[in-house]
């Protein structure tokens, strides 16, 4: 049994619109190990959600939007699977939690019933056994008064509780991979802290690998083992959490980290911001997609897009010319704190 549960290779996804093809995902490769927590961080429109939805077969297939690549789940390419086979995987071996639990839950059904139905769909057990299973999962996610709350309808629960219910539904079949798409964005800060704590505790209590998709570097900091940073449909930097947070090498990762205000330091006058906005993926630039917003951009950056360049640490890599051996040989390594200007 290989250690890798999900291996996505060179995924290309485009959407046809009347204004042209939107190249939403441009050659994205990533993998998830068993029991591991992986973060995919990027701003809206960077392709992070499209990537995950494609892997889960949730994008409409009719449009022929997947233009290339593989997504090997347990060695099996899910992109080639017929719809019926995918349905068997979803909610069972792969599951997902969304940003807004309210639209996800059925408003006319008791939440406990929704959880047991999910289990019954994939397991030939009695309703009684399914209910017991649901109770145990609700205890696992520390929902207060699980017996009573199971009998409630979604609108009778608070936002935090609904999010817990959705997590319970996602976990009841003990999936190999759980995708979490911005699970805390719609929640209040104190509830967000509860959910982050909960997901951290789940890492220890279950066998499930978690893929956390978010735009907030702060949310992933305390949670993930490895991190991918996406920008304009590409993965621009990847590596262990330690390397990514302490020795990041891509200017976009720096920008993301600097945009999160530090509460433990004295304030600076201006917040660090990344100027401009992401490129329109109908006509992505020929060179590096971040060049137009990058403080370190060179002539080379607009001429040619950089490949993913492996760095010193195992698994750490960045798609940036600043990391190219030739550049490093001439000018030395560039760090997040910046360095003397080249001239």
């Amino acid at each position: 049994m290989s250690d890798i549960i999900l291996d996505v290779k060179h995924l290309v996804v485009t959407f046809d619109t009347y204004q042209g093809s939107v190249q939403a995902v441009r050659d994205v490769s990533f993998h998830v190990n068993r029991k591991e927590t992986v973060g995919i961080v990027g701003e809206s429109g960077c392709g992070k959600s499209v990537t995950i939805r494609t892997v889960m077969g949730l994008n409409p297939r009719s449009s022929g939007s997947v233009r290339g690549g593989q997504a090997l789940f347990d060695g099996q390419d899910v992109l080639q699977l017929p719809e019926k086979e995918i349905r068997k995987l979803l909610g069972n071996r792969m599951s997902m939690i969304f940003q807004d639990p309210f639209t996800f839950l059925n408003p006319t059904m008791q939440v406990g019933r929704q959880i047991t139905e999910t289990y019954l769909r994939h397991h030939a057990v009695s309703r009684r056994e399914a209910e017991e299973k649901a109770l145990s999962i609700l205890r696992l996610i520390s929902l207060p008064n699980p017996e009573q709350n199971m009998k409630r309808y979604p609108h009778q629960l608070s936002g935090g509780m609904r999010q817990r219910i959705m997590i319970a539904m996602a976990l009841i079949c003990e999936p190999a991979v759980l995708f979490a798409d911005e699970p805390t964005t719609a929640l209040d800060v104190t509830i967000q802290a509860q959910i982050i704590d909960l997901m951290n505790s789940l890492k220890e209590k279950t066998e499930t690998a978690i893929v956390l998709i978010t735009h907030d570097m702060g949310v992933v900091a305390n949670m993930v083992d490895r991190l991918y940073v996406m920008y304009a449909g590409k993965i621009v930097e990847q590596g262990d959490a330690d390397a990514m947070f302490h020795r990041p090498r891509h200017p976009y990762t720096w920008g993301l980290l600097d945009s999160v205000p530090r509460l433990d330091e004295r304030t600076k006058e201006e917040l660090h911001s990344i100027p401009g906005m992401p490129p329109d993926l109908i006509a992505p630039p020929e060179g590096c997609p971040f060049a137009a917003r990058c403080r370190y951009a060179m002539n080379l950056c607009v001429r040619r897009a950089p490949d993913t360049i492996p760095l010193r640490e195992e698994g750490h890599a960045a798609a940036c010319w600043l990391c190219h051996p030739e550049y490093v040989r001439q000018y030395g390594e560039t760090t997040r704190e910046g360095r003397p200007n080249v001239k």
Binding site: E43, H215, F245, S259, P261, L271, M277
Partner: protein
């Protein structure tokens, strides 16, 4: 930083805003007093349902208060004459949370920006109107080519800037910012905050900056008020809130903000509040926060603490803080 000298631009005196709902009276704002001076930013922070947006709408004359007074330049805004009301709409403007809902999808950006000028007939000719639109778009970092475009062609951050330009067109003295950045990407949030700060410097604007997120208001706020269930529980200079906050709720809010550094995160002491914000309908007796407060004692459950000064400019509503 607080400039307590001089008469305040806006003064809220024990403002109460109630709504009748099935099952009781929803006390959205339950006796809030607050001042904002010219050129000052007051951050109003709290979780959803704490009444911060209702308070903002009360200031904008969109929702009448059930009690208390809102004074602008010393005059009660709910006693205004028709002419004064009209003048008031030009002095107090609003920036909205949802960049998708705040622009009319059928109007081009130029018309949206000029709407206030059109309503008040502030321009003498079409040329002047066009020049003014350009000036406003430039002020917020957009350019002439954007004026004839429709909102759906813009990103969230750009739409938010259009909203800011629309507010600026009235040359206001106070802008109520209702969660203006919470729907934006992090890198864009910083752009908008920096833009608001720059405009404040250039025009001497005052902001009432409403948000649920303590992390972003620090850079823009001179003072911060923390609200919980219709009441201000702590108010102090911005730095005091971050470095020496005394109310358990404020401290919980601060500790709930994730920090983008795993080493700091692991060492940090976190206060995770249990449960949810209770409903503002039929509030319990005593301190509204007592149900979730890790330090609550018997006294907290019986009498509600009043806001009292514990240091110059630092007021707090808690029995326990010294």
């Amino acid at each position: 930083m607080s400039n307590e000298h001089g008469a305040p631009l806006l003064e809220l005196k024990d403002v109460k805003t109630f709504f009748r709902v099935p099952g009781g009276l929803l006390k959205a704002v339950n006796g809030v007093s607050l001042t904002i001076h010219q050129g000052e930013t007051v951050g109003l922070v709290g979780e959803s349902g704490c009444g911060k947006s209702t308070l903002g709408k009360t200031v904008l004359r969109l929702i009448p208060p059930a009690g208390g007074q809102v004074l602008f330049d010393g005059r009660d805004i709910w006693q205004f004459s028709r002419a004064e009301r009209k003048a008031y709409t030009r002095q107090v403007q609003m920036i909205f949370q949802d960049p998708y809902a705040c622009l009319d999808p059928l109007s081009v950006i130029g018309d949206t920006v000029a709407e206030g000028m059109d309503i008040h007939r502030m321009h003498a000719s079409r040329e002047e109107r066009g020049r003014e639109i350009l000036r406003l778009l430039n002020d917020v970092g957009l350019n002439a080519s954007h004026a004839n475009r429709f909102p759906h062609e813009f990103s969230g951050g750009q739409r938010q800037r259009v909203g800011i330009a629309r507010a600026l067109s009235m040359r206001p003295r106070l802008i109520v910012c209702d969660e203006p950045i919470s729907a934006l990407d992090v890198s864009i949030q910083a752009q908008v905050v920096n833009l608001l700060k720059r405009l404040q410097r250039e025009m001497g604007l005052a902001y009432l900056f409403i948000t649920h997120d303590l992390s972003m208001v620090r850079q823009i706020s001179d003072r911060i008020a923390v609200m919980y269930l219709g009441n201000i529980v702590e108010i102090a200079d911005s730095e005091d809130i971050y470095l020496s906050s005394r109310h358990p709720y404020t401290r919980a809010l601060l500790s709930a903000i994730p920090i983008a550094d795993p080493t700091v995160e692991k060492k940090r002491e976190r206060i995770v509040l249990s449960g949810d914000v209770p409903s503002p309908v039929n509030l319990p007796q005593g301190c509204a926060f007592a149900g979730r407060c890790p330090q609550a004692c018997a006294r907290c459950r019986q009498t509600a603490p009043a806001l009292r000064e514990i240091a110059p400019g630092h007021r707090i509503a808690c029995h326990l803080a010294q």
